[in-house]
């Protein structure tokens, strides 16, 4: 009975994985296909679409913009996340639930609401839209992720280690640099990578809050209207997918290393 149920579930799991991977597998297929029409049958193999990306200036500008936004977002949200994660893991203070709840709110708020709210405020204040307003919005949605990752890093941090360091005469800064930081560093790097990846792919907030400078997803959105541009978009998407997956593997490996160092069970931590 148990054996039979297990078999059925395994079959279901395989079918479900095919469903999950269907669009992902098509992406490189059409990126390497000669025809500009995105349909089967495939007409032939080419790498022209990838080569073409090298000569598309508007794309390079968009990529540069996304890098700027992604890096700024990653740094700011990880910094803000570190403050909040450390405070909530280490200290008890009044209003903790409410404050942490408000900080985590963007996790369950539709992005369009965040985008529209920020847009209204910026318009009222007469502030011009730019890449920095996009960063402002992205930091908001990335900070909860940073907190989730960093909390598990801080929670595993043995409080006694820091106290021992104080007792042995290290200064506050010395303790941070020589005890705390090395232990949470993998978590910090993993948070930087995840928040960068989220920002790189975020469309709705970027769409509402950017001025004339477009980010990569906004650029892709504008290209989807032109059928002739589709294969290059597929090629671009393929590159982005490979980059994201590599970043994620690195982030995951680092997170596990930090968890292993602190002796936490790796299957559940951070999920």
């Amino acid at each position: 009975m148990k054996w039979l149920a297990s078999r059925w579930l395994a079959v279901y799991a395989v079918v479900y994985m095919i469903f999950l991977y269907a669009p992902v597998i098509l992406l490189p297929l059409f990126a390497l296909n000669t025809s500009t029409i995105i349909a089967f049958p495939l007409s032939g193999f080419t790498t022209d679409w990838f080569v073409g990306l090298w000569y598309t200036d508007t794309l390079h500008t968009a990529l540069g913009n996304s890098m700027l936004v992604g890096l700024s977002t990653a740094l700011l949200s990880t910094l803000l996340g570190a403050f909040a994660a450390r405070a909530s893991a280490r200290f008890a203070f009044p209003g903790k639930t409410g404050i942490v709840g408000l900080i985590m709110l963007p996790l369950v708020l539709p992005e369009i609401i965040i985008a529209v709210a920020l847009l209204v405020m910026l318009n009222q204040l007469g502030m011009p839209l730019s890449l920095w307003t996009v960063v402002g919005g992205h930091v908001l949605i990335c900070t909860p992720f940073a907190i989730a990752i960093l909390s598990s890093a801080y929670r595993g941090l043995d409080r006694e280690l820091e106290e021992v360091s104080f007792d042995l005469g290290e200064s506050r800064w010395g303790t941070f640099r020589r005890v705390t930081l090395p232990l949470v560093l993998p978590g910090v790097i993993s948070s930087l990578l995840i928040t960068f990846t989220i920002s790189l792919d975020e469309f709705i907030i970027a769409f509402f809050l950017t001025g004339t400078d477009v980010t990569l997803p906004v650029y892709i959105w504008s290209q989807l209207r032109f059928p002739a541009k589709l294969p290059s978009v597929m090629a671009l998407g393929t590159i982005l997918l490979v980059v994201s997956v590599v970043l994620l593997i690195v982030a995951e490996a680092l997170r596990r290393r930090s968890a292993a160092r602190q002796g936490i069970d790796t299957t559940l931590a951070g999920v």
Binding site: F93, V120, T266
Partner: protein
């Protein structure tokens, strides 16, 4: 002791204050402003700051907005139910049947989620289209004589695409809840004579309920706010309230009405979420 607590509280508050202030300025203030805005009116470029309920009258009274609102709720609820139902067996399989390499499975489940969201939605259009992958495959295998047309530019397409987009968000919370279940409880149920089915409904399901509620809310709330999927694969029958919000802030240039629509949908979805939370709490958490 009291002194120590005070010092600790002060330290904690100081430490969290940069993040808290950021969220106050960038989230709480804008949200309050949107609410205020929804009571104002806009005439071309000038904003009239007299408080009025006109936007809400229009948002709730105009047939078009009513249709869009109902459809958004309907689509979101269907998407959520489908996504969670499809996700549960996977989470169950991972938790109870996979013994080695659980982390690898979890990683594989999250990978497709990191493909550009826009491109994933667009690729579903390619899969479901008239000359699409799905139709070509069925035609090639001889299952159908002409392409199916009921799978693109309608509600079905939106449901399939969103069920795909939110899959990992549904699987992970359920998986975590299932992992937490004390396996000895299941053994006890069997020893006391429960059949596997009965055991599932009396022990496993109630204990998994917090995860199911979390999955439901995580999928339901953002789905209402999505405007890309309806626009790319939904056709005219698949447009949702967020598309209208986007139009009001963009082309229609009526931000106060857009704000009223946004606030209205948030209130409705907030109430529904609260309802789900309460019901979930009643249903789950303990073995019955």
């Amino acid at each position: 002791m009291a002194l120590r607590f005070d010092r600790e509280a002060g330290q904690g508050l100081r430490l969290i204050s940069p993040t808290f202030i950021y969220v106050l300025v960038m989230l709480a203030a804008p949200l309050l402003m949107v609410m205020t805005f929804s009571f104002w009116t806009q005439d071309y470029l000038t904003i009239d700051t007299t408080l009025t309920l006109n936007n809400y009258r229009e948002a709730w009274g105009t047939p078009l907005y009513q249709v869009l609102m109902w459809r958004s709720l309907k689509i979101s609820v269907i998407v959520t139910v489908v996504t969670v139902l499809l996700a549960f067996p996977i989470a169950y399989y991972l938790s109870f049947h996979v013994t080695r390499r659980k982390a690898l499975w979890l990683f594989l489940i999250t990978v497709p989620f990191w493909t550009s969201y826009l491109l994933r939605v667009f690729l579903w259009k390619v899969i479901l289209g008239y000359n699409g992958v799905f139709n070509s495959a069925l035609l090639g295998l001889g299952f159908i004589d002409e392409p199916l047309t009921f799978i693109l530019y309608n509600l079905n397409a939106v449901v399939i695409t969103l069920a795909h987009a939110w899959a990992p968000f549904a699987i992970l919370p359920i998986f975590v809840a299932l992992e937490k279940i004390d396996r000895s409880l299941l053994e006890a149920a069997t020893d006391l004579g429960d059949s596997p089915t009965r055991r599932f409904f009396r022990v496993t399901l109630p204990l998994a309920m917090p995860g199911i509620v979390a999955a439901t809310l995580i999928v339901l709330i953002p789905t209402v706010g999505d405007f890309i999927t309806p626009r790319l694969v939904g056709g005219t029958d698949g447009l949702m309230i967020s598309n209208m919000i986007q139009i009001q802030f963009g082309k229609a240039n009526n931000a106060p009405l857009g704000a009223a629509l946004a606030v209205s949908s948030m209130v409705v979805i907030g109430l529904i979420s609260f309802g789900i939370f309460v019901v979930g709490k009643k249903l789950g958490g303990r073995v019955r």
